[in-house]
């Protein structure tokens, strides 16, 4: 009862309340309140995440499993960042309250936290993101080898858009007179046709589908048709 029925009832009730609240001016801001509560809940849940991170890596180190040294590196960098950021080590005092250390700002590289963000986290994430340039190329190559009509359509469109975005597109098609019947083959018109006609239509249908899917998924959960999430035993 406590473990199976009540959670389902809570789920249904909170779902129905949030649906109905949207239709009354008095309660329409409830969703904002719920979002703010969720953010706090996510903040509290970090205890679980951090606990799991510690447990997994400590276990690796203590059992000397292969690669335990990497776990040690993770733990040290995690701990160092946490200590530096919580203590606001090196923070620039707040001009209005220089006597309250924890009110200081730690965004500049003067503070340990800002330094770690600027020289460790930010270059790492930016480089990881930049790797995508290579992956895009290899994905295009792979799709090109698929040789079916759909793959050709996808890549052909991608190629046209890429050409149009760089100067090559205009260079290749500028000889087509602007008032001729074939003017639609000029780079800028091709881009407009692809984005405004095909992409708009495709996106509209995808969005309508997603909206229905979202609604149906929500209904299945709220009405208790799909109970997989909360029922065990």
């Amino acid at each position: 009862m406590l473990q199976r029925t009540i959670p389902l009832l809570i789920l249904s009730a909170s779902g129905l309340i949030l649906i109905l609240s949207y239709f009354s001016p008095i309660t329409e801001t409830w969703s904002e309140q719920v979002v703010s509560w969720f953010n706090i809940l996510a903040g509290v849940a970090f205890v679980l995440g951090a606990g799991n991170l510690l447990a997994v890596n400590l276990e690796k180190i203590s059992s000397k499993r292969p690669g335990w040294a990497y776990s040690a590196i993770t733990l040290v960098s995690f701990g160092a960042m946490l200590v530096v950021g919580l203590s606001k080590w090196g923070a620039v005092p707040d001009a209005k309250h220089p006597d309250v250390h924890l009110a200081g700002s730690q965004d500049s590289t003067q503070a340990g936290y800002g330094w770690a963000y600027e020289y460790v986290l930010s270059p790492l994430t930016a480089t990881m993101f930049a790797l995508l340039a290579f992956y895009v190329a290899s994905a295009a190559f792979r799709a090109f080898r698929a040789k079916n009509f759909e793959a050709i359509l996808l890549l052909g469109t991608a190629f046209i858009i890429l050409l149009v975005q760089i100067a090559a597109g205009a260079f290749l098609t500028n000889w087509i007179p602007e008032d001729s019947f074939f003017a639609f083959l000029r780079a800028e018109s091709l881009k407009a046709i692809v984005t405004e006609v095909f992409q708009t239509a495709g996106m509209r249908a995808i969005l309508i589908g997603i909206a229905l899917g979202t609604a149906a998924t929500s209904l299945r959960l709220i009405l208790g048709i799909d109970r997989s999430a909360l029922s065990k035993g």
Binding site: S24, V35, N52, M128, A139, D226
Partner: protein, 427 residues
Amino acid sequence: MQRRSTSVVRESVRLLQRVGEYAAACVSFACVAMALFVARDVAASPMPPAAENLRLEDAPDDAGGVLVVFWKTPDPAVSAGVVIERSLTAAERAKNADELWIEVERLGRDAVAGVDGSYVLKGVPIDEDTRVRVSILGTDGELSEFVESAPARPEVSLFAFKRLPLLLTVIVVSLSVLVWVALARSGRPLKIRRIAALDAVDEAVGRATEMGRAVLFVPGIQDMNDIQTIAGLTILGRVAQTAAEYDARLEVPTCRSIVMTAAREQVQAAHHAAGRPETYAEGNINYITDEQFGYVAYLSGHMMREKPAACFYMGAFYAESLVLAENGNSIGAIQIAGTAEPSQLPFFVAACDYTLIGEEFFAASAYLSGERDQLGSIKGQDVGKAFAIGAILIGTALATIAALNEGGSLGMWAGSAVASMRGFFGG
């Protein structure tokens, strides 16, 4: 319901009244404007003309506390602004007995550029009368005489009438799902087309079992407040059940702490459902980091080292989609992706073996469950699509008639019909 219909009637009567008022106001304005036009050259008045037709009305469809001030500026040409004052509330009067009015706002030229001016007055007490007074500021810096409004009190609306079309649509969509669930229960045959990506789930898990390798399930990078993560986790439940039946190792690294907790619940429930609660291993479901690219760095390295035989990407994905799919490709894993993030679908489509596109992703969990209720709800989604197609066809036809017969009576009728359809759907 009766209450609603009476208020609809009340609304329409109010609308008619307002049209009448507008007409009267326009006529009177025209007279005043003409008189002023004639009088203008004769003598320049030392004081700008005072505001006319000052009205203070409740703003509809809100939780109270808001009134709207309407006025007419007799001569916009010589007006440079407007001063709006309101009466003090009872609480304010108790503190300060000398004052009667308090200035709320001093608006600039834009407020008096046209004849009709309006201002939204917020924070008005709902349990007492409030009045406003308005004075026009002339271009010469003189203030006109203050004009005082009748008292008004903001009304609290229980229902937002502007959302009535939404409510109707929600009811239509919900009913179509519910009716089909009921039909499914009554034993009506349910035919659902095959979805290749979902038929491949068993195959992928089976292959991983045969090869003695793990199954990797990535539930996206968003938290539980994203419906895609919730949908992804319901799919995780089905995949976990299959994995439990095959006794394959299922790894679920997560990007959020709450998702880790929810995934553990889901997988544990799946092991119970498969009748093998003893094989559930919590250690396979771990939190990595909230950072998108930190999570990707972990997954990339992990995939290269552990070489999972099957990779599932089900949830909300952003730039990392392609990194994951390409790495999965390079280790030769079967990859099944599902997301409703339109910007990432191209990459999954290009690099994965199977991709659940948008709505398919949301139907997947229901499809995989094989339960009649859930299959019925998928049918309900189709009714929703039929509704959409019907509305689009009718709307487009009407718009086309309106365009072809522009100016004609048929065209006029079609034009107004399509306009009200667009209004209903909020376009």
